[in-house]
């Protein structure tokens, strides 16, 4: 993301990034349009239907892509207009971006290592890590929650429901 207007120090909250909403909308709109063009190409190459009265596998997706395309272009248009200063501006605040990024990576990590670490080790480690990253510094709380979570998962999923975990 573009860090256009960085923390100017008006707020005492630890590190936050402020990005004009219109810039974000334009960026999102462009990404959506890029994905839509792939979608359209794929839909276009889907086989023709056997039944002549069927619109075919690609018909409805093309319709959806058309409508979404118009909506996305208008979103970009409105955002550009707003950015040029015609209407009121708004900012999107990304607080504690580094911690959020860390936790996002932890979420990916717990999904990726779930099979190799096994359910209990994985949830224990990652829940503790997420708590620390979220700002919890009391060791007992961190330990208590991760142990409690593992116990809960064991009792409900393994004992009561007999789910087979990796």
């Amino acid at each position: 993301m573009e860090n256009e207007a960085l923390n100017k120090g008006e707020e005492p909250v630890q590190g936050y990034v402020r990005i004009p909403l219109s810039i974000l909308e334009i960026a999102t709109g462009l990404i959506v349009l890029a994905i839509l063009s792939w979608y359209v190409v794929e839909a276009y190459h889907l086989p023709k239907p056997f039944n002549s009265t069927d619109v075919g596998a690609g018909g409805f997706p093309l319709l959806v892509a058309f409508g979404t395309g118009i909506a996305t272009v208008s979103m970009i248009g409105l955002a550009v207009a707003r950015h040029m200063g015609k209407m009121g501006k708004a900012d999107s605040r990304w607080r504690r971006p580094l911690f959020v990024l860390t936790v996002a990576l932890l979420l990916v990590g717990q999904a990726v290592t779930f099979e190799t670490l096994g359910v209990y080790l994985c949830t224990a480690l990652f829940s503790a890590a997420i708590m620390v990253a979220a700002g919890e510094r009391r060791i007992l709380h961190v330990l208590g929650v991760s142990i409690g979570l593992v116990a809960f998962i064991y009792v409900v999923f393994a004992l009561a429901l007999n789910v087979v975990f990796p």
Binding site: L21, L24, T28, V32, Y39, E42, A43, L46, P47, P49, F50, N51, T53, D54, V55, G56, A57, G58, G59, F60, P61, V64, G67, T68, A71, T72, S74, M75, S92, W94, R95, R96, F99, V100, V103, A104, L107, Q110, A111, F114, E115, V119, T123, F126, S127, A128, I130, M131, A134, G135, E136, H141, V145, L149, I153, V156, F157, L161, V163, V164
Partner: protein, 501 residues
């Protein structure tokens, strides 16, 4: 009928029936509350236990489980913004804000009471209208289903907060996501890079990701901040009885809506709760509070999704056609017991339908009792500090997503949608239209194409049936009204800003 009904109630003279009812309610409550597991899975899990039992005993347990599981989804929706089923999504819209305002206890109380009333009212309707309304539901052909899906989608416009354009983009994304998988008419794979995607995106992991996991990242943003203490749920003397009573209109309308939508095979509890929520917002005196912590919103969604349980029973009992995935599993359970649900059920095995009526009614107090006892304990969850909640939600979502299919695929889907949900919320793209479009997309496309095939390519199927026309008009009105309001507001704002216009 009175005689049969009495015999239905007389089944409860057997302690084993009570045991089955209580066991079913407890299991349903638990399964519904766990993100990733839902009523149809719960009923399927219970079936092996019913083999050796009397049909009446087992059907009571299954019905109790179904109703309680449909309620259980509300608990996690309210407390941690994790609707375990798509039917509880609308509950989360207001339930979670209430919880953040320290009103978790009140929200839980309202959700369980209105769920109970929803079942009670709809079961009464079921008794008198199951047969005629099920016959009426048969008039829903492909054209009507398409129009119904459109009505559901049109409500998005009324629900989406903020920008109408962003709501439309979100709806488009949802519809596009709904087309992923094998095409139902030609069997061709579409936009599916791997075989796992052939079945389409699994709904529950997407839900968990967009709502619960993205909330984890928002909790991280908050860090350790002083939380608003949740008011403990006191004894019944301290409850806001007047406030509860003032919900009677919303609850009644939502129950009736939920029941009727539940009858239409394939529509189900999630569409019922979406529509009831939208109607409640339209008819409310304080529509601006919807989405920010409206008790009415919770009441509408919960009354409707539980009323849909009775609704789904109607075509099952009257015609032997399941009204929902859960009742489809129940048909299997009944057939294993040697009971053939169908048009002859009322004359051949009257004890079964009347026991179902009886167990819906007797089940209500049992379910409400369990729910109230639970609500007191659950309300404390809202007081757990943010970082701990974040860790717990992340862990439970991980395990729940895995358990929903027993493979890693839903876990990856959930994680990806969690991060996507966070980014979308940051750009203020509403999530509700994505979910609604994902739920309705397949129904819309399949029936649109099926309609054209049955009409041999002629569009007249969409304007010759009065039912289709009525539904389509409703959809157009629902699409147009907010747009008109939007333009008018713009014009007024522009005039205020620039008096020369």
């Amino acid at each position: 009928m009175i005689e049969n009904l009495l015999s239905g109630f007389s089944a409860f003279g057997d302690p084993l029936v009570w045991l089955s009812l209580i066991f079913g309610s407890l299991v349903g409550y638990l399964i519904g509350a766990i993100p990733g597991l839902g009523p149809s899975l719960g009923v399927a899990l219970l079936i092996p236990f019913t083999y050796g039992l009397d049909p009446v005993v087992s059907i009571v347990g299954l019905v109790a489980l179904y109703a309680a599981a449909e309620y259980g989804g509300a608990i996690t929706a309210i407390l941690i913004n994790s609707p375990g089923t798509s039917a509880a999504v609308a509950t989360a819209w207001d339930g979670y804000p209430l919880s953040q305002q320290g009103k978790a206890g009140e929200a839980l109380l309202v959700s369980i009471v209105t769920s109970g009333i929803g079942i009670f009212i709809s079961a009464l309707f079921l008794l008198f209208t199951a047969v005629p309304l099920s016959e009426f539901a048969l008039r829903f052909g492909p054209g009507e289903y398409f129009a119904l899906a459109l009505v559901g989608l049109s409500l998005v416009v009324g629900l989406a907060e903020g920008s109408v354009v962003k709501g439309a983009v979100a709806m488009g994304i949802g519809l596009a996501l709904a087309t992923v998988g094998l095409d139902t008419q030609t069997g061709t794979p579409r936009f599916a890079a791997s075989v796992e995607l052939f079945e389409g995106l699994p709904l529950v992991p997407v839900l968990l990701g967009l709502y619960a996991l993205s909330e984890v990242l928002f909790l991280v943003e908050e860090g350790v901040t002083a939380k608003i203490k949740s008011a403990p749920l006191g004894g019944w003397r301290t409850w806001n009885w007047k406030g509860l009573w003032s919900l009677n209109g919303v609850v009644f309308r939502s129950s009736v809506l939920g029941y009727i939508i539940g009858i239409i095979p394939g529509a189900g509890a999630s569409i019922a709760s979406f529509i009831a929520y939208a109607v409640a917002k339209k008819t409310s005196k304080t529509p601006e509070r919807f989405g920010k912590g409206s008790i009415e919103g919770v009441a509408a969604s919960e009354a409707a999704n539980n009323a849909a349980v009775s609704g789904a029973m109607a075509p099952l009992l009257a015609l032997g056609i399941p009204g929902s995935p859960t009742t489809a599993v129940m048909i299997g359970a009944l057939m294993i017991q040697g009971i053939q649900p169908g048009p002859l059920l009322f004359s051949r095995n009257p004890e079964i339908p009347y026991t179902i009526f009886a167990s819906l009614w007797i089940g209500v107090p049992v379910m409400v009792f369990i729910g109230l006892a639970g609500a007191r304990a659950w309300a404390h969850v809202a007081n757990i500090p943010g970082p701990a909640i974040a860790a717990i939600v992340a862990g439970i979502c991980l395990v729940g997503a895995y358990a929903s299919e027993g493979t890693m695929f839903p876990v990856y889907v959930m994680t990806a949608f969690g991060i996507l949900g966070y980014l979308l919320r940051k750009v203020q793209v509403p999530l509700a239209p994505i979910i609604l479009a994902l739920v309705l997309g397949e129904m819309m496309e399949t029936n649109f194409r099926r309609a054209l095939i049955t009409s041999h390519g002629s569009l007249e199927i969409f304007y010759t049936s009065p039912l289709t026309v009525a539904l389509l008009l409703t959809a157009i009105l629902a699409f147009a009204l907010p747009a008109v309001g939007f333009i008018r507001k713009r014009r007024r704002a522009a005039m205020a800003a620039d008096p020369s216009v």
